[in-house]
Amino acid sequence: MKILKSWLNDWIDIEAISTDDISEALESLGFEIESRTDKTPNYKNITVGKVLEIYEHPNADKVRITKVDVGSKTYEIVCGAWNFDVGAVVPVALPKSEIKDGFKIDKRDIRGVESNGMICSASELDLWDDHAGILKLSDQTKLGSDFSKIYNSTDTLWEIGVTPNRGDCMSHLGIARELSNYFNLTLKENSQSLKSNIESVIKVNSGKIKACNSYQSIEIENFTLSDSNLNIRYRLSSIGVRVINNVVDYTNYVLHDIGQPLHAFDRDKLFGTISVRFAKDNEKLKTLDEQERKLTSEDLIITDNDKPIALAGVMGGYDTEVTDTTTNLLIESAYFDKVSIMKTSRRLNLISDASIRFERGIDFNLQKQGLQRFVNLFENDQDINYSSIIDSSKNGIFYESISFDKNEIEQILGVELDDNFIRNTLIKLQIESDVSDKKIKFKSPSWRYDLERPVDLIEELAKHYGFNNFKSTLPIGNNLNSTGDYWDKRLYLSEKLSSTNFYEIQTLSFTDSLSNELFTPEKKSVSVINPIDQTQENLRTNLLTSLINTYRFNLESNGKSHRYYEINNVYDDSKHKKFKMIPNQEYSLGLLIPENETVEDRKRKTKTNNINTLANVIKNLFPSSELEHLSRPGFHKNYSYLIKLDNKILGFMGKLSYKIQSELELHDSLYIAQINTENFNFDQLKAFTYKPLSAYPFIKFDLSFSVPNDFQASNLINCIESILSDNENNISIFDNFTNEKTRNLGIRIVTRSYEKTYTETESTEILEMIVKEAESKFKIKLNKKDENAT
């Protein structure tokens, strides 16, 4: 919302207070300052003149020659605008003056006629955007006066945020009321009483519904549709309201001045009794944007003999709108229920300054003042006739007094507030109250529907006390130094993976339906009923597509092939394991390793990975995990495994199927895995004990066995481990050579006794025992041995 300093000054005397101080006050009262503009005239030496004569230009059709009286002298000025006649009082830029953006005005020859300057439009003076032509001033303006003096040309404009609970602050009056307490100023009274001089013609009532608590009207006769005065046009245009004509301008002005939306009807287009009701489904109304609207039973409407004539609080009807030919008016000032206004304005996507105010809730006692202010403004510009106000309030809204213990203030805020402070604040905010030793009793004023509970008033006091004036204390919670299983697991996985050249990625949770089908067709997707677009209509059932997309993107746009991981939720339509009503969500880890991986050093060599690289990563993350072959969609027939930990399924891993690899036009093979982090505990990973270090030297054997093609090396390792179970061992595969006929497996055994240094004889005995055991247990044969006892 935009507010002007000069406008606030109508309500409280703040002219003398610095703009910085006002900004600080606004912010400390909870009005976020979105912008502040210090306005100064964007022109120089503009004077006021009156057009005495107008005649044709001898050599041009599109311009006219005027004779303009600027008080002391008369000038001949050529003018291209046609929106004025003889007698118009206008701003004049004489030679040696400047209009907007420093443009200098001088004598100029226009098609053979000397023009002594120019007559200015509002936009040429940077007042507001107006293409209607010359700016016309009041006939009473003194000729020759300095233009910058006839309105508030030096001013400050703030754009502020008003929180949704403070509808009462959606006007200059509302803001002024808050500031009056901050600066200790008195709020002024601005409405003058009315003296009606005609009888009203139209009968008005507020209907039989609660949603319209009050419907008031006034009728105006004998008026001229014209421009409103310069001050109104200046203020409205400054706060971003389009200036139209006096009737529209006054309604807008009252709205921004005191917060009461008004609507003007052409009275002569109304025939019966004006009332308010909810529309019937499919009832129709042509709104003033000339659109035929189909109504629903949630739309509140104004009726004339039960026929819809306006959408209450949202938009007027086309058939009853004020036009150039309107001679009599009926002005509506009403209180409508916020929920119905909100529903209609959102459904039809019609959001106006009026609907926004009704939505937030306006003062239920403001309707009469709204009409008064309107008539005051009108009377100020021209002589009009008007009726008395027809008031059909139901008086259905009232606030009860609320009483609470004063020590509740300290209990919530942590400081005690002084009685005088409390009293003064409540008086300035016009909140009826009684502050005694132990209790505070208050009654919310008609504009403050947000003060329903003691805590609401305590917040109000805290705000006016100033949040930054409270002391600060630091309480310590009850979970010192334990972040919990969920976070510990995440950190464990991240640290391990990031230290082995994986990059962590964060991708969006949405996907199209095909990507889910690719890897997890067994899961039914959770869909968004109002997706952002068609490619984001499903929540992902796996993390693999995002990993592949990231891999591809960086390969194509950065020429780099890397490992990636992501830890985020996957979703499917089955029931949530713990909570009712919501779909299943598994906090999961996704991994991707490319076949050829870029090594990030100067030489840019490539590292080659295979299925064992991924298996090794899994084993390092989950040391006691096991793999079990199981074919699954999207994966290589053989290279597809379940990952199990303590017989519980953790997830799956494998190689991307060649079919998908080719469909995705990927040159390299990809190794991918997904793990459900909810299927293990952090404690489980840390449940291992330290292996003691032997004090004796190691002996080492490199053995090469000829083994069948489907032989599993881990069986041999386990077998040797169990033979040497009393020792400290390090057993690994150092070679795996396969050709068409044979497969050779090289195994390195490094072992130490905890008790002694092995002699050469003992070492040979151990070697022979291992070979004998291995050959007898498996169908394998020792090729050669390279004993290297040290």
């Binding site: 400390s28 009262l29 909870g30 976020e32 929180t163 949704p164 916020k338 909100m342 919530i412 805020l413 942590g414 400081v415 805590v455 917040e459 805290a462 705000k463 949040f467 930054n468 204390t473 630091l474 309480p475 919670g477 009850n478 979970n479 010192l480 130094n481 972040t483 919990g484 969920y486 993976l497 990031s498 050249n501 994986f502 990059y503 962590e504 990625i505 964060q506 969006l508 949770s509 959770v526 968004v528 009923i529 109002n530 997706p531 952002i532 929540l539 993107f553 746009s557 950065n558 990636y564 939720n569 949530h576 009503m581 919501i582 779909p583 969500q585 906090y587 990030e600 050093d601 100067r602």
Partner: protein, 330 residues
Amino acid sequence: MPELNFDKVLASLKLRLDDVLDESEFDEILKEYVGKESLLSAERKNLSNLSNEDKKVYGETLNNVNKSIVTNIKKAKEEFINNKYASLEDEENEDITIDWITNTGTHRHILSQVMDEVVNIFASIGYKVAYGPEVETSWHNFDALNTPDWHPARYESDTLYTDNDLETLLRTQTSTVQIRHMEENDPPVYIVAPGRVFRSDQLDATHSPVFHQLEGLAVDKNLKFTDLKGTLEYFVKQFFGEDIETKFIPHFFPFTEPSAEVLVKWKNGEWLEILGCGMVDPNVLNHVGYPDEYQGFAWGVGIERLAMLKYQVDHIKNFYDNDLRFLEQF
């Protein structure tokens, strides 16, 4: 008195040492000059033929010469070794700047790092990490958080729903975890809940349909607005540095009262909002059935916002494009 010319001996030693080509020669030289077969040893054998007086004088001379020889050889050897390695090292002169580049950070996503940092700050003052579902019930996302059913945040233009009755949705705030946690745990509660939240926005420079928040909640006996202030001031100082200035300005959230926004004074003097907070609204505590003597405070902070401020990232889209040029920097 024997007349051995010791100056000559030392001069010849000097020449001999100057000619050394290999470290092993020093032991030979030592043997040659002071060993059994050396001139010096021969002289020492002759000592017995001298008078006691001369024996003493000449003996001392021989000792001095011996000492001098040994010292010279030792010094020459040290020098030889030093020169040997010095010239070896002199030959090695690689351009140190060729790998003087920073192309890899920690390999962790910056959003995760910022979440860790924030979690650690709160862990240090006794908060534990809690989490809750991302696809939530409307009740947990709105009703339980005191958001009336006509509230604009519920509109389908802002919130992504997963069923036609609008009963389940993608949570729009991590505040849902407040409710989930309190439903399952008795007070006192001190938790932070980092996680994803969702809005109906297309991904561009300033919007993302997915972003991260960290919700904090403290509920205990005797927690007051002054405690909220102290806690968040502590966080801001830990995260941005001791010298950062903060201020609290009133705001409105349906589920807290009083509510505030915390602003920090940035380097250019501008005040920037970094988090929203407030005293938990009594209605919220009623919804989860907590006894009346408990009250508390809550806050929510945008992780992207913190990351953007701290590292001056200009586009939110960067976080979700996963371009290696971006990932490598953190």
